[in-house]
């Protein structure tokens, strides 16, 4: 079985992180922005899992489980907030949300 070197995981995860960040900054739909953020979280998970395998250490894997659990809770809350905000709106776009001056 071919072995995948650690560096490949790191390069892939860095790409995921950067794509997620760009997606967050470029997209104006809060749902897409949340998906982009999830990609960034999972980039972190990939690094943790890869290093945990590399070190044969459990704590990295435990960290991954914690992150996955928190991500589920976070997605539930974020989606609830998106639904609350856009319930009375025809379109989902953060540029329309501008009562505050930000």
């Amino acid at each position: 079985m071919p072995l995948i070197p650690l560096d490949d995981y790191l390069v892939l995860s860095a790409a995921m992180f950067v794509i997620g960040l760009i997606g967050f900054l470029v997209r104006r739909n809060p749902l897409t922005m949340l998906m982009a953020v999830e990609l960034m979280w999972n980039a972190g998970n990939l690094v943790l899992a890869a290093f945990a395998r590399n070190f044969s250490d459990m704590s990295g894997q435990v960290f991954v489980f914690v992150v996955i659990t928190v991500a589920a809770a976070e997605a539930a809350i974020a989606l609830a907030i998106v639904v609350m905000v856009f319930r009375r709106r025809p379109d989902v776009d953060v540029d329309d949300i501008s009562v505050l001056r930000g």
Partner: protein, 476 residues
């Protein structure tokens, strides 16, 4: 058959947290079983839980301990931050009592979420391991995302919740990736093991640390990661804004300080990004505050600048830095909770009375309100005989002794303070300017916020006049 050892958990160490979690659950339970549970009753349970938890923290004094395999450590440092967080929680629950329509559909959910937020903050204050740090931060943030949006009637509150959850998750993304790289560089999630990797930092370590600082900077509202702050502070219900400004900042600073002290232990070049964002925050916070006409936005910019000031306590990474940081954060807690309590007092349930214009002539109508607000503004500006002044003197002393970056930060702190005089005196000036004919007086004279206001004034003056009392208590 393999035996798995049960983890050793010392419940005495986590007693303050257990008390708070029990309080949150009790609130939910009482609301569930009792039809006659009033808002006042639910919030009173919350405040009682706060007091119990505070007593448990005080009982730990002098007995530092660790549990969960060293991942959770209580010491002088965590006690000080626990105290600040619990004071903020109590004040926030008190302020919530005045707001009739602002706790969303359910006062029980609202107050228990606030209590769980504080639990997250206290986990952060005691966390000595990247996983526990992350868990604490998320426990605090997830509950706050919901609380920011509890002003159901107001679009501004919903907007605040959306902005907070989007940028908060982005910050967590940086935090996770940074933590993952730090784990990769050191082979462990414990801060004491990461310290070994910090001795000869690899590229992986530097990148991880920088991303970690970006994540923490977002949560602390340090410039250039502060863009969400004014909107979220303005849109959130006033009691939640007060909690965000004080407890979230204190808890996140406890993480940052523990990280810097345990991992580095002395001043290193890798900390340069931290000093740079501190300088930027002081500039952005003070300059941004000049143009504000809304008190909540003004205090938001003020909190950005104050977060920059607090970083000065870490300059040089010396032993006295921690006591300086705790002193300044305690002073900051008193003056901010006080100022937000005044806004709640004047607003009385309505969120619209944060315009500085509506405070015009306040002194001639309600002299006590104006006098208390003046104390808080003077303390934020750093006028002698207030807590803010002593805090700034301590910070300056810390920074000047810490080499070129420290001196640069000290200079920016002095310049920023000069600029901020204008900002805070604008508010005081408005309150003492003569009454205009026909101007309507802001309503509201609830008794409850007065407790928070009075405690704030007492704290600010006491810390300003007898600082050695507090300083010797916190000295590590």
């Amino acid at each position: 058959m393999t035996q798995i050892a049960a983890p050793q958990i010392d419940f005495g160490v986590i007693a303050p947290l257990v008390a708070l979690v029990a309080t949150g659950l009790l609130i939910l339970l009482v609301d569930l079983v009792s039809r006659r549970a009033t808002r006042r009753m639910l919030y009173s349970i919350g405040i009682a839980g706060c007091i119990v938890s505070f007593v448990r923290v005080v009982m730990q004094f002098g007995h530092p301990a660790t549990t969960f395999g060293g991942a959770f450590a209580t010491d002088r440092f965590s006690w000080a931050f626990d105290a600040i967080i619990l004071v903020a929680l109590a004040a926030s629950l008190l302020l919530s009592l005045v707001r009739d329509a602002e706790d969303g559909a359910s006062p029980a959910a609202y107050s228990s979420l606030l209590v769980f937020c504080a639990v997250g903050g206290m986990i952060m204050a005691a966390a000595t391991n990247l996983i526990v740090i992350f868990l604490g931060i998320e426990q605090l943030s997830l509950a706050l995302y919901i609380l920011a949006g509890t002003g159901l009637g107001r679009p501004a509150s919903q907007e605040a919740a959306l902005k907070y959850v989007l940028l908060g998750s982005l910050a967590s993304g940086f935090l996770i990736y940074g933590s993952a790289l730090l784990y990769g560089a050191s082979g462990s999630v414990a801060l004491t093991d990461i310290a070994h990797a910090a001795a000869s930092p690899s590229m992986l370590f530097i990148t991880g640390f920088t991303l970690f600082i970006v994540g923490v900077g977002f949560k602390l509202a340090l410039a250039p990661f502060h863009v969400w702050t004014p909107d979220v502070y303005e849109g959130s219900p006033i009691a939640i804004t007060a909690f965000m400004a004080v407890a979230v900042k204190a808890a996140t600073f406890s993480v940052l300080a523990r990280f810097v002290y345990v991992v580095f232990g002395h001043d290193v070049p890798a900390l340069a990004p931290l000093w740079a964002i501190a300088i930027l925050s002081m500039i952005v916070g003070n300059v941004g505050a000049i143009a504000q006409t809304n008190l909540k936005r003004l205090l938001a910019y003020s909190s950005i600048a104050q977060a920059g000031y607090v970083v000065l306590a870490l300059a040089g990474v010396t032993g006295s830095g921690l006591s300086t940081m705790v002193f300044y954060l305690a002073a900051y807690a008193f003056m901010n909770l006080g100022a937000f309590a005044v806004i709640a007092l004047v607003g009385d349930g309505s969120e619209s009375v944060a315009d500085i214009d509506s405070y015009r002539g306040m002194f001639w109508r309600r002299p006590w309100v104006a006098a208390c607000m003046t104390v808080f503004m003077f303390s934020l500006a750093g006028i002698p005989a207030t807590a803010g002044f002593i805090g700034k003197v301590l910070l300056l002393g810390q920074a000047i002794a810490a080499g070129p970056w420290g001196i640069a930060m000290a200079v920016v702190l002095v310049l920023g303070t000069l600029v901020s005089f204008y900002v805070y005196f604008k508010v005081v000036w408005a309150m003492f300017s003569p009454l205009e004919d026909g101007a309507s007086a802001p309503a509201g004279n609830a008794l409850v916020p007065w407790i928070a206001v009075a405690a704030g004034v007492a704290g600010v003056i006491l810390m300003g006049v007898l600082p050695q009392l507090f300083y010797s208590f916190f000295a590590t």
